[in-house]
Amino acid sequence: MNPVTKFLFELQEVGLLLWGVLTGLFRKPRYLDEVIKQMDLIGVGSLPIVLLTGFFTGGVLILQTFPTLQYYGIHSEAGRSVAVSLIRELGPVLTALMVSGRIGSAISAELGSMVVSQQIDAMRALGTDPVKKLVAPRVIALIVMLPLLTVAADIFGIIGGGVIASYIFDQDQNVFITSVRNGITSNDLIGGLIKPFFFGMVIGGISCHKGLSTTGGTVGVGLSTINAVVLSSIWVIIFDFFLAKAIQSILGVGII
């Protein structure tokens, strides 16, 4: 298969999988307990790494930009710079990348080993649709939890920025907070929450598809895990660009 055909084929497969998840929502049986279990695993389980990532990203942003802002005499706007870049871009993207590394690999490894040990076939043979039982709970949990994780990362990022600004650069905390509050608009927030919704679909769709299409034993499981993480990370970043462009034109975010 040439690369273009292969790409289109994979795109079709992921699309069909997500379509299966969507149409499955309106059919019984529903595996609500499975969804909740996945939400716990994906959401609560990823919270520590997402918070750490957010906190230190916010901190390093201030660390690197504060001297420059000071040089131009606009260091009172430091809070705005960290809040806007976190909420619009870094929060959603870094959260999605951390989650795709942690959860994308877990999903594809788990589904992949189920495929090679014939558990998926067994499941189908026992009359259960694996898309409903395995794929849908994971994709739904990702779509629901990723925006929430993003919010947590944003908040901790701003806190991290504030901590660095006040302890290293001796900025008054009120100045920082005021500049954050003046800097962000509701459109920033909406735009920043639309992205993780799509990223959840991207990570869930790609990881589940890679896991379910595993072939070739344990080596195959390793390969599909690599592919799941690499592809979902790349597609998160590519999607981010186009989503940013779309949000800019629709909501007018980022055009001053």
Partner: protein, 302 residues
């Protein structure tokens, strides 16, 4: 009434003494029109992967209460036949009928009720390793929304059937290969499916365990009137399944008797596959006396 063999009886397997076992009247059974409909029927089925022809015009039927042994070398399309019956694969051409119902055009959704009639024993057991033995065996009934008390009863009954009641709380990872295979059988048999498919259930097991699994298959065939397909490449399995039958003795125990003057087994037939084609179909006696050099080599391993 002594167990006898008659031309009508072949539809229901070797007889046990009717005083001891609950069996419906023979004549009534023969008159049942749906007994004439085979459990499984393949009509001229073709299948290829990429440019490799896997099945090349396969046709056969498995009647009610009959066991079909499918012999053939590894990679010869034996497991493919089983996957086709379950609708996990679709044929390129031809028809597959389950209980007279053509499943070839069925979608995944439409296959679900058909699959509930079929029990499948996978090569390596294929147990869900995140679930305990109890949950594995209960899986099918839980999915059907059966009452939990009833599920518990059924699970215990099935585990008793495969002699594994003690393992009920264990996880699959704690079990030996043979035990895992038996849990797989219990999981396949819950809900009393009328069709059971065995995909090399004895591969890689020690002879006594392999024998136990064959005995389970014989019990299903003779005592529960199940249609089954038994894919294997081990000649021992063929010997057990085609020469012994299960009866219930006066104490209510299941005993296995050798085929002999009293009874001749006619509910077990053999198919041999070679390069996606059926090269032999008939009883095991016919197989033994077959002159074909390929078959002779397969049987005697030289």
């Amino acid at each position: 009434m002594q167990p006898t063999i008659s031309s009508e009886k072949d539809l229901r397997g070797p007889l046990v003494n009717p005083d001891q076992v609950e069996l419906r009247d023979l004549d009534e059974a023969v008159d049942e029109p749906d007994r004439v409909v085979p459990g499984i029927e393949f009509r001229d089925v073709y299948l290829s992967f990429d440019d490799r022809q896997i099945l090349n015009g396969i046709s056969f039927t498995v009647r009610r209460g009959e066991t079909k042994l499918i012999l053939g070398r590894s990679g010869g399309g034996k497991s493919t036949i089983i996957r086709l019956i379950l609708g996990l694969l679709k044929p390129d051409a031809g028809q597959i009928l389950i209980d007279g119902e053509d499943i070839t055009p069925y979608t995944e959704q439409e296959m679900m009720p058909v699959r509930q009639k079929i029990g499948m024993v996978f090569q390596e057991g294929a147990l869900f390793d995140s679930l305990s033995v109890y949950e594995n065996v209960a899986y099918r009934l839980r999915e059907q929304g059966v009452d939990e008390d009833e599920i518990g009863q059924e699970v215990r009954r099935m585990l008793q059937f495969v002699a594994l009641e003690d393992a009920i709380e264990k996880m699959p990872i704690e079990l030996s290969g043979g035990m895992r295979r038996r849990v797989g059988i219990a999981r396949a048999l819950i809900g009393d499916p009328q069709i059971v498919l065995f995909d090399e259930p004895t591969a890689g097991l020690d002879p006594p365990t392999a024998r136990t699994i064959c005995e389970l298959a014989i019990k299903l065939r003779d005592l529960q009137d199940v249609s089954s397909i038994f894919v294997t490449h081990e000649m021992n399995n063929l010997r057990y399944l085609s020469s012994e039958y299960a009866v219930i003795d006066e104490q209510g125990h299941v005993v296995f008797e050798k085929e002999g003057e009293k009874l001749c087994l006619i509910n077990t037939e053999v198919i041999m596959l070679r390069d996606g084609e059926i090269v032999f179909s008939g009883s095991d006696e016919q197989l033994q006396s077959c002159r074909d050099p390929y078959i002779q080599r397969f049987i005697h391993g030289k």
